[in-house]
Amino acid sequence: MASFPSGPIQLVEGRALVVAGEDIDTDRIIPARFLKCVSFDALGDQVFADDRKELDGKHPFDHPQSQGASILVVNGNFGCGSSREHAPQALMRWGIRAVVGVSFAEIFFGNCLALGIPCTTAAPDQIKTIQAAIQADLSRPWSLDLDEMRLSVEEESWVVAVDPGPGEMLRSGRWDATSQLLDNGPQVDALMEHLPYLNRFQKAA
């Protein structure tokens, strides 16, 4: 499997696959029984476990031609429900490196960002066209270019969007928030000195 995201994320290349449907929640991406773990290592095999079982081998993640795919194209409100980071972790460990959809649940979006996985959006009818293009031939190599903000396959290409903040964090490699936050330790100290509830409510805010 390709290594996990690191550094600046400007280009994601690979085959694409489609999981269609509105409001696909994190319980479906990784059912709760798989959360009983103290490490994320085994989650890749368990992604969409119940849906895959129900479809008995016919789920997109089981399609032989989609093994090793890296771009997932979804519909609206993808990743809603539980905040579990196990969901993007499971997708990432299966091999997904970018998601494109109509919209994303916020916590899911943030969890993906923290792993260096861009969640980019396009209008519903465009997503439909893109999904049809993927399904017409699962073997084609796609690319998601975050500098150009385009999703392309062969000579076709579509404009995709991501909020400027997260987009910049991905492109610059500063999506790993921890180091940035730690840089501002002194400002955190200063704030703590003035926050009323940390100072017996004696300080004016």
């Binding site: 509105e22 409001d23 103290v38 490490s39 928030a177 940035q180």
Partner: protein, 472 residues
Amino acid sequence: MSSGTLYDKVWDLHRVTELPGGSTQLFVGLHLIHEVTSPQAFAALTDKGLTVRCPERTVATVDHIVPTISQQRPFEDPLAEEMLSTLERNCAQHGIVLNGLGSGRQGIVHVIAPELGLTQPGMTVACGDSHTSTHGAFGAIAFGIGTSQVRDVLASQSLAMNKLKVRRIQVNGQLSDGVSAKDLVLHVIRTLGVKGGVGFAYEFAGPAIELLSMEERMTLCNMAIEGGARCGYVNPDQVTFDYLNGRVHAPSGEDWDRAVAWWSSLASDADAVVDDEVVFDASAIAPTVTWGITPGQGLGIDESIPMPESLEAGERPMAEEAYRYMDLQPGTPIAGVAVDVCFIGSCTNGRLSDLRAAAAVAKGRQVADGIRAFVVPGSEQVAKAAEAEGLDEVFRAAGFEWREPGCSMCLAMNPDRLEGRQISASSSNRNFKGRQGSASGRTLLMSPAMVAAAAVHGRVTDVRSLSPQPDL
């Protein structure tokens, strides 16, 4: 853009700085952790050679994986035991207080922090659990975070966040008898949709909200996230202060007076600007029950499962999926749908007032034949208070099991689960496919009183239709 709301004021107070990517570094006043989303965060911290910046601002408990029949250690399930012992080790190593089993303070994280007085107005509260929105009931900005953000908070006591818009959910009038905060929030979600709140913080306001107790406000804010709003809040008022007064971690003495003055100043200004406002009439809301596979698929108790043609085109695919999965036909009245299992508990409705409401229905009645019904208090304190009032006896006499505190059948991480295609009446917050532990199990969400009514009739029943109880 909103201004002058509690959300704006609390946001500004906690803003450390703007980050290069355009997000804000936000200070976290109270960080709550539990066994499920913290182990990987601690591991990542250690990998990076980092330590916990403010151990005293993080508080731990254990809730998701604990069995509710016997909490004897080691647990029968070795994975559950490993998760709890990992939490114990991490807390000990980093100097974090763990409210463990038998401490008298253990329970579901969103139940214990308020009851210990840890959650206070004007704080930012974060926890690796989406129902952290619960704590907004106190006039805090409270939101769920992912495991890498748990790591960030442990390391820096802060988070990279983007500011939300504010939508005021103005609720006029007054809830009718037999109609609870759960019904109200299911009604709001049904009306605005499960993604209606994406990008928003919900400010719950208006006469009907002011009349709610703190526990009811918690139920309401708990489910803001099910409507897509990452946080929901209620402006602090006398009800809030009365609840907090005297709690273990609440301020006392002179601090108390200063605290109340400060808290009062945080409520949204009369001329605050919000990004959006939606008005509801509380008196028009009936006991509400979900019939489908998202919390937005709700119905008043006197309604029927919607016909596909009555739905907007965008809602139809999910409805079709729900008819099939739930095995419920369009046009079937929701009242009368038979259930197998009745579950009262969870961070939505596992508090004392919830148990009282359910017990009032159960008292002097019997769980119907063939129904498995059980009550799981939200915390050790709730259990103790309920037992002191004899609620455990009321439930047992009616044929309910009385359990030890934990998340239980809200989600499938402990031995409490549905089997096969069983259908439950549940006071929890999520009816997603497979949520209660069986890949084909089905969930009907409703208030605790409605769950008790379903238990005694074996079917979904309007709690208002039960004849009043003689005082037994």
